[in-house]
Amino acid sequence: MPDRRKIVGGMFLLTTAGLLLLVPPLVHLFNHDFTVLGVPQIVFYLFGVWLALIVGTGVLTSRLSPERPANGEEGEG
């Protein structure tokens, strides 16, 4: 199992990078007047970042070992 702290660090990086990629100024880099298969570039970019975030989270989470549930006092109806 990889180091837990590194994975958590990776998740933090993914979160902040995701946020940065979705706001100006970075988002302007991909906002040009040109289309891919008739669809504007920016639409591809935004959905691409979105998909990358989903996949990234899935991969990182799967490498993170599950935790014991916190609650010691379960068991009422």
Binding site: F12, T15, G18, L22, T57, A70
Partner: protein, 900 residues
């Protein structure tokens, strides 16, 4: 063909289906805790209650009007879920531990169990959500109208009923449904498994419906490319050059706050969460759900703009496009999808809000003004249920009134953003609550209040622009003509997008007040306790909370309180289990502070932390004042205690280390003195033969008068003495070589028992000389071990000759046995000599050590045992002293037997 009546009947049938689902969901959850209702998939689907008819209808309209902006509403929550480990996990953990029931409960509990803060948050939430509920009513009304309007059967029974009447009907129906659904019983942790099951089902319905419409549109539009090129041909071009302005940032920030703070989102994500690990799936699955939801919105919007007649409502494209294409079945499915998204939102939002209202507003009032009524068995749960039903009606009425007043504004999305801005006012407080220990109640209350005032002025009020001339006047000129107070240009900040403007001012003021206020105010003791409990939730072991002094409440008083809130059954069960745990009879049960703490949390699960605290402090004497003092001290002394415990531990460790060092030192000293003694012994031993050798050789050198016999005798003495010297030196060399492992060493299978026999026959002469009797015990028979046969024999000889040499008994006996024990060949050599005194036992195997008695008359160098032990060690065996069957010493040798 669709008629309005048919559509309404379908909707009602759909609601009936939901009800059945919820009913069986509840029964199933009750029967079996680990059913599929507890799966991460259901959890994720229930979170998608976030996608309301705002998504289903509004996002399409928004995309048609303002391009990509609709995406921010889903990208913000994506960020929050991608970072689930940092915020959501913490919230879920805290809420599980402290039985949090809502955002209001979280904030009130964290900030010193303050009822006032709970009331403030609840009021703001109820007012702030009204536009959001109105949005759903509007969407459902418009969708029914859209279907009915296109119907050739005309309006059916809707004839003569306008939007307002329809919306009223929808609101009333929803209220009834929600009451039937969500307020059937009061739960321990406010979990509604049945409702969640229904919501999850609705999530699937709305996703499938929207995807179906999307696929249909893409199909008839000739693919994504076809749709975009047709639009371009008609002059409809998506202008994205100005998309990423302040409004983009604002809506992104607002949606980040909303996914956490919206009452229904908090309810499904945090309160209804039954397992923290479900977040691991939801972290990527919920963003994926939203991605699927959004992927067809842009094509639907653009295709709608292209083919629908000028002036048609873009919000309804998802419905009107299939209708226009004559696909009535698909249109009906789309209608049910939109209806799903609206109903799930209304049901959950009003349940979540009604819990807040009943726990934070009605319950404290009931507690304050009603005399306690004991013995009706139902406890306050009945009051709670009634309170919740009224709250639901109140919330839906507010939504309806907002709809009524603003019915002329046509777009859906802006209405939702008004609610988002109101709810976002909780976000700074929420973050401070779980990350910042110094945040104080006063600062947080003031921050939320000021943020709310700015929201009401800059965001809520302007939404009545179209219906009230007074409001439009105000927007234009400001109150009493004060232009810098104009709601959409506060302090002269003109030319901004109104939403960005309102969000900027309200949130800036909010955050500034919170931080600055917290720095200049001092939190109370209870606040500090709660702050530590919340912020350090992952750091400290979760100690049971003790907020009350021991011995001040009787079990009876507490039981009455518990019965009032929890009802007879649960109260009795709680007390019985506590009595069982402490091992006493339920009648003789004395409440411990831990039990009072647990009871408080149980109560908090039903009526909120603040009310639970108030209720218990009524019966538990010596509560708040002395408690605060005590806690203040405890807070500070706790750290000192922890520190001193650490110190104690360290010093204990140091003590043991010092003791070990001392022992080692004593051993070293003793060895050293033994060595000195031995060296002098050795010098003596060496000197004696050397002296005789020297003197005899001198005599021989000078001796002319010696005859041959004498000469022969002197030479043989010299020879003998030099042999002795050589033997001594050989032994020393042998030992040091063994220790350094340099010696030629044969390793081969050896019959150990045969080696023992050989040793006995070698020693035979010695034994006879001493008149010693050999007592032959049991023998193991031929046994193979790995080692050097001569060396092994040497060890046996050494042991036997020691037994002979040191024996001074009148009838000396040596007893020799060998046996096989758990894979080892074990030889014991025992004698009836003087034995080895306790003090010598440790040293006997050391170099240069000799038994004390031996020192008197033995000429050995004291190396025999040391050498033997080295040899045995190299053969992977052990040589020790063992309890002797005879009065003297007993040596035990163990060697591993080779297998096969």
């Amino acid at each position: 063909m669709l008629s309005a009546d048919f559509v309404i009947a379908t909707a009602i049938a759909y609601v009936g289906l939901l009800f059945v689902l919820a009913y069986f969901g509840d029964r199933r959850a009750k029967a079996n805790k680990r059913s599929w209702l507890n799966s991460p998939a259901v959890y994720t689907l229930s979170i998608s209650v976030y996608c309301t008819s705002w998504t289903f209808y509004g996002a399409v309209g928004n995309a048609a009007r303002s391009g990509l902006e609709f995406l921010t509403i889903y990208l913000g929550p994506t960020i929050v879920f991608v970072g689930w480990y940092f915020l959501l996990r913490r919230l879920v953990r805290i809420s599980h531990l402290y039985r949090i029931t809502s955002v209001a409960d979280l904030l009130s509990s964290r900030f010193g169990k303050s009822s006032r803060l709970g009331v403030l948050v609840t009021c703001i939430a109820v007012i702030g959500i009204a536009p959001y509920i109105a949005l759903q009513l509007k969407a459902v009304t418009s969708s029914i109208q859209a279907v009915a309007g296109s119907s050739e059967f005309g309006q059916g029974s809707l004839k003569g009923i306008d939007d307002v009447g329809l919306a009223l009907g929808v609101a009333a129906g929803m209220a009834l449904f929600t009451i039937l659904f969500g307020t059937r019983h009061v739960d321990a942790k406010e979990q509604h498994h049945g409702v969640v099951a229904a919501i999850a089902f609705e999530a699937v319905v709305k996703l499938t419906a929207l995807v179906a419409v999307g696929v249909f549109v893409v199909f008839i539009g000739g693919g994504f490319e076809g749709i975009f090129s047709q639009a371009a041909a008609k002059g409809i071009v998506m202008d994205t050059s100005t998309s990423f302005d302040s409004r983009w940032l604002t809506t992104l920030a607002l949606s980040i706050a909303a996914i956490v703070c919206l009452p229904r989102q908090f309810q499904v994500t945090v309160v209804e969460n039954s397992d923290e690990n479900h977040l691991r799936i939801a972290g990527w699955a919920f963003p994926a759900y939203m991605l699927l939801m959004s992927i067809f919105i842009l094509p639907i919007a653009i295709y709608g703009l292209t083919v629908m007649p000028e002036g048609s409502n873009p919000d309804m494209f998802a419905l009107t496009l299939p209708l226009a294409a004559g696909q009535n079945g698909l249109a009906l499915f789309a209608f049910i999808g939109g209806f799903s998204s609206a109903t799930s939102m209304i049901i959950l939002e009003s349940i979540a809000l009604s819990i807040m209202v009943s726990n934070h507003i009605i319950m404290p009032l009931v507690l304050r003004f009603s005399p306690p009524q004991y013995g009706d068995g139902q406890g306050v749960s009945r009051v709670l249920l009634v309170a919740r039903r009224f709250s639901i009606m109140l919330i839906l009425s507010l939504g309806f009134f907002y709809f009524f007043f603003t019915r002329d504004s046509d777009a859906l999305a802006p209405i939702g953003l008004i609610s988002f801005t109101a709810i976002a006012q909780f976000f700074p407080a929420l973050l401070a609550a779980i990350f910042w220990k110094d945040a104080s109640l006063k600062a947080v209350s003031m921050a939320i209040l000021l943020g709310f005032v700015f929201w009401a002025w800059c965001c809520f009020l302007p939404s009545f622009d179209s219906v009230s001339p007074a409001v439009s006047q105000l927007l234009l000129e400001g109150p009493w003509g004060i232009s810098w107070l104009r709601p959409e240009a506060m302090f002269g900040l003109e030319g901004w997008d109104p939403l960005a403007h309102a969000a900027f001012w309200s949130l800036s003021v909010n955050i500034l007040t919170l931080t600055l206020g917290s720095l200049i105010t001092t939190p109370s003791a209870l606040e500090r306790i709660q702050a530590t409990a919340f912020v350090d939730v992952f750091r400290r072991p979760n100690l049971p909370q003790r907020n009350f002094l021991p011995g001040s409440a009787t079990a009876n008083d507490l039981y009455f309180v518990a019965e009032r809130v929890l009802g007879e059954q649960r109260a009795a069960a709680l007390f019985e289990s506590a009595a069982r745990d402490s091992g006493v009879d339920p009648i003789g049960f004395e409440p411990t502070p831990e039990f009072v703490g647990r009871l408080e949390r149980e109560l908090a699960g039903s009526i909120g932390a603040a009310s639970a605290h108030v209720m218990l402090s009524k019966v538990v004497a010596g509560s708040d004042v002395s408690l605060e003092e005590m806690m203040q001290m405890a807070d500070e002394t706790q750290q000192v205690i922890v520190y001193s415990q650490e110190l104690e531990k360290t010093s204990a460790e140091l003590r043991t280390t010092a003791q070990k060092l001392e022992d080692a030192n004593a051993q070293l000293r003793e060895l050293d003195s033994q060595k000195d003694e031995f060296l002098s012994q050795v010098s003596h031993e060496v000197r004696t033969p050397m002296t005789s050798i020297r003197s005899f050789s001198e005599i021989l050198l000078d001796g002319h008068s010696l005859d041959d016999t004498q000469r022969q005798r002197f030479v043989s003495t010299i020879h003998q003495e030099s042999l002795r010297l050589t033997k001594l030196l050989d032994e020393i060399l042998d030992l040091s070589a063994l220790e350094r492992g340099e010696r030629n060493w044969q390793s081969q299978p050896v019959d150990a028992d045969a080696a023992l026999d050989r040793a006995l026959s070698v020693c035979d002469a010695l034994l006879r000389q001493k008149g010693m009797r050999v007592d032959h015990g049991d023998r193991a028979g031929p046994t193979m071990v790995e080692g050097d046969p001569d060396r092994l024999c040497q060890v046996f000889i050494n042991l036997i000759s020691n037994a002979v040499k040191y024996n001074d008994a009148a009838e000396p006996v040596v007893r020799i046995t060998s046996a096989l024990r758990s894979g080892n060949f074990v030889v014991e050599v025992a004698d009836n000599g003087p034995g080895i005194s306790k003090g010598e036992r440790k040293l006997i195997f050391e170099k240069f050590s000799r038994g004390q008695r031996g020192a008197i008359d033995q000429a050995g160098a004291g190396l025999g045992l040391a050498i033997s032990r080295q040899i045995v060690k190299r053969m992977k065996g052990t040589l020790d002293l063992a309890p002797s069957p005879l009065p003297g010493a007993c040596f035990r040798l163990r060697l591993p037997v080779i297998r096969g």
